[in-house]
Subunit: 447 residues, 2 copies
């Protein structure tokens, strides 16, 4: 990890006097709690932990990634929280977090550009996977040991999280924790945009910007569940092979080519659907590329995020160029403009319905999250930098486990494996020896 950017802090925590002020988010309120982790649970009380004294038997400590202020990568710190063990509230479950997803909204949140995130200090994290360690009252369909994915507006980047059971989703047996952490936000976003807002049907054409990103890969896979869909994608040239292998029809290097021109060359009449995470002038370009009856879904403003910190010029430019279109023009063009952001979506029933559909597709092998890379909590700055600089092909995953621990574990596993291999070898040799000694008997057995 880059130690100058993420530092570990010991935190004193008393939830009865919340140390983290949590003002109302400026945007619409989400059903997902503003800080979906341990803190908001009414039953989960924590007491001040002594810097020196080790936690008592009644207490538990865990690590969390906390946004301490808006700005650069150094604003997110690994903090150790101490919590008294108390019964869970009705409807809640305690999740031991195994892996977390990193999303663009968190890059924007760090810069202070995402108003659905509470003001700092706030534990970040919209999605994770893990194992249920305890179940509160009034929870019928979850038990200890269940492997689950979790969605929240924040608060999931920590080793232990108390969350409402209905924000957890059972993982299929074949799904790894990393896949479970990579799936919810990207695939729900892609699915709702394509099938709820844009009405994807056979034979349609789709443009996916940032096609090598988490949503881009999810959208490409989902487009392949419908016959005859053509998918255009923008990404830098080095990523083309991977995304073409993933099912993209046409990869366009937006750094060296005018993607509008490229698309017009291949599809002169334009496109049915544009998924736009960029905002600014790209939204206008996408709108113009639409065929009649086409839809553009704007789901981000990545063009706002140009440097490590809030860039007023980039913001101004993005806002200035932001598409604001009158209904008369929409009528004359027979077009639709949609906006989507899961962080603002309050319809939990629709989210659950979509997750059911996605789980069916996963089990059928039709979708599979692609993991780009994994970083430990203390490496969060490197993780963010990778996403920010658009180096990732697929999902960037954060692991709560300490790197040293993992390395130690890997070492142990290696040793274990070596020992196993040795034993196996020994056994095989003995078997061979045995076989050589009694060839007739073996033959007889085979007969």
């Amino acid at each position: 990890m880059s130690s100058e950017e993420a530092t570990i802090q010991q935190e004193q925590l008393d939830l009865k006097k919340p140390p983290e002020p949590e003002p109302e988010p400026a945007g619409p309120t989400s059903v997902l709690p503003a800080d979906g982790g341990v803190q908001p649970s009414a039953a989960a009380a924590a007491v001040a932990a002594d810097d020196v004294a080790p936690p008592s038997a009644e207490e538990t400590t865990f690590r969390a990634l906390v946004l301490t202020g808006h700005g650069g990568y150094d604003k997110i710190k690994v903090q150790v929280k101490t919590q008294v063990k108390v019964p869970l509230g009705d409807g809640d479950v305690l999740v031991r977090v195994k892996a977390c997803g990193l999303n663009f909204a968190e890059l924007m949140g760090r810069q202070g550009l995402y108003d659905a995130l509470a003001s700092p200090p706030v534990t970040m994290g919209m999605e994770c996977s893990g194992v249920i360690e305890a179940v509160g009252g009034d929870v019928a369909d979850r038990t200890v040991g269940d492997r689950v994915m979790v969605l929240s507006s924040s608060g999931l980047w920590q080793e232990l999280a108390v969350v409402p059971a209905d924000q957890t989703f059972l993982m299929p047996d074949a799904m790894s924790f990393q896949e479970g952490a990579a799936l919810p936000v990207n695939y729900i976003t892609a699915h709702m945009m394509l099938f709820e807002m844009a009405n994807l049907r056979p034979g349609k054409s789709v443009l996916v910007h940032m096609a090598a990103g988490g949503v881009g890969i999810a959208a490409t896979q989902l487009c392949q569940t419908v016959p005859g869909v053509t998918v255009f994608g923008t990404a830098s040239a080095s990523k083309h092979q991977v995304i073409l292998d993933g099912g993209l029809s046409h990869a366009i290097d937006y750094r060296t080519k005018d993607y509008v021109e490229e698309i017009r060359n291949i599809s002169p009449k334009g496109l049915d659907i544009v998924l736009d995470p960029l905002g600014g002038s790209d939204t206008q370009k996408g709108f113009n590329l639409l065929k009649p009856m086409g839809t553009i879904v704007v789901f981000g403003a990545a063009n706002c995020v140009t440097g490590q910190k809030k860039n007023l010029l980039a913001m101004a430019k993005t806002w200035y160029n932001q598409l604001s279109i009158g209904t008369m023009k929409l009528m004359q063009a027979n077009k639709s403009v949609s906006g989507f952001h899961l962080g603002y979506l309050t319809d939990l029933a629709l989210i659950r319905h979509t997750m059911d559909t996605l789980m069916d597709l996963y089990v059928q092998g039709k979708i599979k999250p692609r993991i780009d890379s994994t970083y430990h909590f203390e490496e969060v700055a490197d993780a963010m930098r990778r996403m920010h600089e658009r180096q990732n092909v697929g999902k960037v995953i954060l692991l709560p486990e300490l790197k040293e621990e993992e390395e130690k574990k890997e070492e142990e596993e290696k040793e274990e494996k070596e020992q196993e291999d040795e034993e196996k070898e020994k056994e095989e040799k003995e078997q061979e020896k045995l076989a050589e000694a009694k060839p007739e008997e073996v033959k007889a057995d085979q007969g």
Copy 2:
């Protein structure tokens, strides 16, 4: 008819030197010809007809409704056109028009508010029904005698129309000409808005403004093809019974009640779909009424049309209040804004596909145009006034046939019927007489 508003004129027509200048429409070009009637057909040449001399055997005359300038009801005149009989162009058919549909776009076109209509003088009319009288070369699937509906951007309000065969749609046997003239524009509009743009699915809620209008009734019927859809509709109180009988769930008198409040009382979470033909501040209200993931489809600006002539104040007010929404706001709300206008739609394949679906629904008895009233060409001002003043419940139909002719025909039919009735009565009496004379035989037959 109101003779001060519509006058019959004799027109001299030479298509080689077109008397009607047809500048490019200001909006997007439609596949439907700017004047889809007799004039644009390359093969159909007409020569100057003498005002006095009767048409020769090689000529045919027919009546047409021509917009002579922008303004009030008196700007549309019945004109008699004379045309030389020449072979039809490839792909064209000649249609004897039986009934025409009146649309809101034509009210706006008369006022100069609809830029898809060519400048006057221009023959109006976007839809009609009729019988094919002649078929040009290269037309495989139409024959003389076929009963068809026709769509065009204009030019169909005339007794005879030359149109591309692929803008004609075969009518089911059970469909009357009036129904055929009432169906295309309203039902294609309603279907595309509900199923292409708004993705109507079971259990959704829909608001239909002007629920007693042509599109309103079509949308209400189409909503009933999907299980569990709740349809709210606005209309004046006198029309409520009819539209409730037609399947509307909740009728709201917009003249005496605040429809936003009424809907919030019944459906506090709001609506999934709003169909908005009004524009102006009603679009903003509709947008606010949407649930997350909801869609508003704007398909008109009826609020612009307040008086008989262009009203600059109403226009300014409608434009000022016109919804122009930024994509950031759409993202935070998770909503969609669409614009639809069939007059600007260029995708003939999609139109044909939709018509196929609609014909299936018609044959299954799931949709049936409601005819509000019929007017003869010379009564076009009364027809427009009825629609303008929102007195209609269903479609207003225009008939090319002269009123006197129809009355004469009705007289003849009445006489014919009376004669038939007389004969039938006579026959029945004879039968009775016969039965009375041989009661046993009848009994034996029954045994």
